[in-house]
């Protein structure tokens, strides 16, 4: 793998999920795995600029991280702790590089990251803890960013993560991989975690767009592995199709200043046809089985957009029908907002207002809610209300380019 032309920070963040998961398999302890990863990164930052970047940075980081971790365990714990390490812990670096890929593949989950995701989604911890743990451990998201995503305080998120780690460590079965029945029960949570990872990359912070793009690809890789694990699970198909549809818009979605371009304004010629075609095939396969789920419906909505040459020719009545089903099987304020937006775009302004008004209680801190309300009131010629909502949106947005656009709209009213 040619890695030398990529910036070091990129290489390290791309490698993180795989390295952390591999180290976790060696140490059976999240803190030890994280410490070892940090130390391996420090050594990489020290060594790689002066020498050459290794051909396989993942293997290098795993090898160095594992050695650092072994030393650390020897120093801080008594020597019997060494027994927790697998028998093959002393293989040489060359062997390690060659064998790494094979080792990842021969695992029952085919992949350490997927295995770690299943562990983080242990049913003994709450859903919020599972998500926080996945974001922190696997993606390496800073606690502050997780707190922002949860609309919570960093201290309480840190506490939540620590408690999750502690309860997982305490479990009797330790970190043993779940059996087939347990795996089935957890697969829905793992899907959600993978989709969160994808969204983190897709909807995330603009300053780190490039890194986020890599997160999207890692999520797609995991969605593929999950589908390989349970190839007849229609929701696994839905998840992969949804991620592919969204990712296909990547190049059309970011302007020259790294700001997000809304779907209606995107140059659809830039959409990646290969990903769209694959996703269409997958969703077709899923839907003919007739077992509907929220990922399949979201993918179907994305499929309708993917097959339309522009906003005007989009089959809005189909999209609205799909949103109706989605609000029944997986109700959420964001889905209701998207439903209302689809109804608005199809020209049913009063109906859209009726759907959007009750969302004030849940989405009052969400800039896109105010954006939609402003659009509705602008069409209804209620300028004072439109202006109020635009001002709320302006206060809430964290994106400079979006703020400029909102200010322009206020001036135009």
């Amino acid at each position: 793998m040619q890695a030398s032309h990529r910036p070091l920070s990129d290489i390290l963040s791309t490698a993180r999920p795989i390295v952390i998961a591999a180290l976790f398999r060696y140490f059976n302890n999240m803190d030890d795995a994280e410490d070892a990863y940090q130390e391996a990164c420090l050594r990489a930052l020290k060594n790689w600029p002066t020498k050459t970047v290794p051909d396989n940075p993942v293997a290098w980081l795993v090898f160095v991280g594992r050695n650092v971790g072994i030393d650390q365990i020897r120093k801080t714990k008594n020597t019997t702790s060494y027994a927790i390490l697998p028998e093959n812990a002393n293989i040489s670096v060359d062997e390690s590089e060659i064998n790494l890929h094979n080792q990842i593949e021969i695992h029952p989950y085919h992949d350490d990251v997927l295995r770690l995701l299943f562990i983080c989604c242990h049913p003994s911890i709450s859903f919020e803890q599972q998500v926080a743990l996945c974001l922190r451990i696997i993606i390496g998201m800073p606690v502050e960013e997780i707190a922002a995503a949860f609309l919570s305080k960093p201290a309480s998120i840190a506490q939540r993560i620590n408690r999750a780690k502690a309860s997982i460590a305490k479990l009797a079965q330790s970190y043993e991989a779940p059996n087939a029945a347990e795996r089935q029960a957890r697969i829905a949570q793992v899907r959600t975690a993978i989709y969160l990872l994808f969204n983190q990359g897709y909807a995330g912070n603009h300053a780190k767009q490039h890194i986020n793009f890599l997160e999207c690809r890692e999520a797609i890789r995991l969605a593929r592995l999950l589908l390989q694990l349970a190839p007849n699970d229609t929701e696994n198909m839905g998840l992969l199709a949804l991620c592919l549809f969204q990712n296909s818009r990547h190049k059309a979605r970011i302007d020259a200043h790294q700001a997000i371009i809304m779907l209606k304004d995107q140059n659809r010629k830039l959409w990646d046809k290969a990903q769209i075609v694959e996703a269409l095939q997958i969703i077709e396969k899923a839907l003919r089985k007739g077992s509907v789920g929220s990922f399949q419906i979201q993918a179907s909505i994305a499929a309708t957009h993917a097959q339309s040459i522009d906003e005007a020719s989009t089959n809005w009545s189909e999209i609205i029908e799909l949103y109706k089903i989605l609000s029944q099987i997986a109700p959420s304020p964001i889905i209701s907002l998207n439903h209302a937006a689809a109804v608005f775009t199809s020209g049913q302004i009063n109906q859209a207002l009726k759907l959007a008004l009750p969302l004030k209680t849940t989405l009052n801190d969400y800039p896109y809610y105010h954006g939609l309300m402003a659009e509705i009131y602008t069409v209804l010629k209620n300028i004072p209300k439109a202006k109020n909502h635009l001002e709320s949106a302006l206060k809430l947005t964290k994106n400079a380019t979006q703020a400029i656009l909102i200010r322009e709209k206020i001036d135009q009213l």
Binding site: M1, E218, R221, L222, R224, Q228, P231, E278, Q281, K285
Partner: protein, 125 residues
């Protein structure tokens, strides 16, 4: 003698390749194709869609996914003319080396004879 080279890749990892890495792979394929086109040795180029789109039939029961749950997936193949196995093995050295390649002589071949015409162009996602 007609040979096929069947290409197997760890499909999920392929999605992590950067654009530059993808371009290197694609260039290798183009190089291979250009090499074989000299002397009309290239007969067929097939790139399959990912196994996520596969449906299998086992004793006429429809099963989702590829036929075999292998660690690497069958992603495509070439049909080409080579003098013998040595020749075939030396020709495929140009192909990207991260993939597993299986060389199989062809017993019967019909249709899609593109010798002398413009052959199918491989398109990477």
């Amino acid at each position: 003698m007609l040979y096929s080279v069947l290409i197997y890749e760890f499909e999920a990892s392929a999605s992590l390749l950067s654009d530059a890495e993808n371009k290197l792979n694609l260039d290798a394929h183009h190089h291979f194709q250009a090499e074989l086109k000299q002397g009309d040795r290239l007969k067929q180029v097939v790139r399959l869609m990912p196994t996520s789109t596969a449906t299998s039939l086992k004793k006429s029961t429809i099963i989702d996914g590829p036929f075999a749950d292998t660690k690497e997936q069958f992603v495509g193949f070439y049909v080409f003319e080579a003098d013998d196995l040595d020749d075939a093995l030396s020709l495929i050295k140009i192909l990207p080396n991260h993939a597993t390649l299986e060389v199989r002589p062809i017993m019967y071949y019909e249709g899609g004879d593109i010798a002398g015409k413009s052959p199918t162009i491989i398109r990477h996602p």
